[in-house]
């Protein structure tokens, strides 16, 4: 397969990237404009929203915020950052909204075809690999996508982080986005082997809340999903302001 990666040098691409997105930034709402002019890279990005996913014995908890920004302008407070690939696979969205939703919908199509051909559900490892291989062909061409593929297959719960750089890692918990550092603090402190479902949900909610508290580019509502052995369920949707009041009252 002819790799298109090597047609242009990296330097050339980077100039184009910034300019390309300048134009797009105005038109498309929210999460697209996540490259700073400095270049493609999670650490340099200022404007990613953040999400958090964690595996424990009862499945996978996925918590996301819902803010989309264009520079310092809050484009939307009600973005759905969890993409429902199929009834037992979830994908989260960070980076370009168009890239994320397009590629994850394409992944949903591939997963369905796999299911029909092989008469069994696709594994989380295979689904994340399909996605990673699909976007790798466009590496260096300006795709911006950082996603966590979460699901439950015959080997148990599965959580993979996949991004447009070609990274694909399996893990127990991830936090992605501009506010991820704040969420990691809460997440790593509260993570235990024997969390119950409610405790884990509360941990996820708290982690996102803390991130929205400190990170300007995160906010809105906290959407919480729980992936169980028979599929995912949407657990709750809490406005961050309500959570703020609740935690403040608890502290008193």
């Amino acid at each position: 397969m002819h790799s298109r990666r090597f047609r242009h040098t990296r330097e050339c691409r980077q100039e184009l990237i910034g300019r390309h997105l300048e134009h797009v930034r105005v038109d498309i709402e929210g999460a697209t404009s996540l490259h700073s002019m400095a270049g493609v890279g999670r650490k340099k990005d200022g404007a990613r929203e953040e999400r958090r996913g964690g595996e424990f014995q009862h499945g996978v908890i996925v918590a996301v915020d819902s803010r989309a920004t264009a520079g310092s302008y809050i484009a939307s407070q009600t973005v759905k950052k969890v993409i429902e690939i199929n009834p037992y696979l979830l994908g989260t969205m960070a980076g370009g909204a168009a890239d994320c939703s397009f590629w994850e919908r394409l992944l949903a199509r591939q997963c369905r075809i796999y299911e029909l051909r092989n008469k069994e559900r696709i594994s989380v490892a295979a689904a994340s690999k399909l996605l990673a291989n699909m976007v790798y062909q466009y590496k260096g061409m300006g795709l911006s996508m950082g996603t966590m593929v979460c699901g439950w297959d015959k080997r148990g719960p599965g959580l993979y982080y996949v991004d447009s750089e070609g990274n694909r890692v399996c893990g127990d918990s991830f936090s992605v986005g501009s506010g991820s550092v704040y969420a990691y603090g809460v997440l790593d402190r509260g993570r235990r082997e024997d969390l119950s479902v409610e405790e884990a949900c509360e941990l996820g909610r708290r982690a996102i809340y803390q991130a929205t508290y400190r990170d300007a580019y995160s906010g809105g509502v906290v959407n919480l999903y729980h992936v169980k052995s028979d599929g995912w369920v949407c657990v709750s949707q809490n406005d961050v302001a309500d959570l703020h009041r609740k935690y403040l009252d608890e502290a008193k």
Partner: protein
């Protein structure tokens, strides 16, 4: 190159036959017999070994090939065609491991081989593969499987089957003798395969090549000594059966 040909070789006849495919099946019927048995914890493949010329090295004539650690196949028909199919199947097994992070199921690789064969019955300038394959192995969840493909590209699952020359005789033998108790243990399954082949093979154990896969273990090709031992056991059992019958008749 297929692009240069502008006429398909495999075309329908007026009464709906694909003659090239049927001729390919005839070529299969000329090949040496192969038998496959699906046991409970073991799958067995046996082939009739053609007698090797005096100066020929025996090891190069192998009709049972591993496709992956847990899958192997035997074929009947044109050896050269089989080599191509086996190569493609081996690559596909590894490709599947890479993209899906799981070993192939026996059904998946059989479907791949069957699709490959079907493609050659519907392409420009190509003839169908002249082989039938018996594909055996264990799935990831430990279920033993046996599949058979033929030149037309169809595939079916079997409990036990035979292909090649005298396949009909062997299949009839298997239909009579394949019972749950006949394959109760691994050894019994192996002996059933040998018994089936002995029906049609001329000079006994020397002309039989046998391979087994046990659950979670790689392919094992039995040595001629082991086969001789088993053949001797079978002969003894036959004599004992004959003795018993004589005694019954006498009394």
């Amino acid at each position: 190159m297929a692009a240069r040909y502008d006429r398909a070789i495999t075309v329908f006849s007026p009464d709906g036959h694909l003659f090239q495919v049927e001729y390919a099946q005839e070529a299969v019927k000329k090949g040496s017999t192969a038998v496959g048995i699906r046991g409970k914890d073991i799958v067995v493949l046996g082939v009739e070994k053609k007698s090797v010329a005096k100066l020929q090295e025996e090891r190069t004539v192998r009709k049972i090939c591993a496709l992956d650690e847990h899958v192997c196949m035997a074929f009947a028909g044109l050896t050269a065609d089989a080599r191509i199919v086996i190569n493609r199947a081996r690559v596909e097994c590894q490709s599947h491991r890479l993209t899906v992070e799981d070993p192939v199921t026996v059904e998946y690789i059989t479907r791949y081989i069957a699709t490959l064969k079907q493609r050659y019955t519907q392409s420009n300038g190509r003839r169908p593969f002249g082989i039938s394959a018996l594909i055996v192995g264990f799935d990831y969840d430990g279920t033993p499987r046996l599949y058979q493909t033929d030149p037309s590209g169809t595939y079916h699952a079997w409990k036990s089957n035979a292909i090649g020359r005298s396949a009909k005789t062997v299949r009839e033998f298997l239909e009579k003798n394949y019972t749950e108790e006949a394959i109760a243990t691994d050894n019994d399954a192996i002996k059933l395969a040998i018994k089936a082949l002995l029906e049609v093979v001329q000079s006994g154990g020397k002309n039989i090549e046998l391979a087994v896969i046990r659950r979670s273990q790689p392919l094992k090709i039995l040595e001629s000594k082991e086969i001789e031992t088993l053949v001797a056991e079978i002969e003894k059992e036959k004599e004992e059966e004959a003795e018993k019958k004589k005694q019954k008749k006498a009394t």
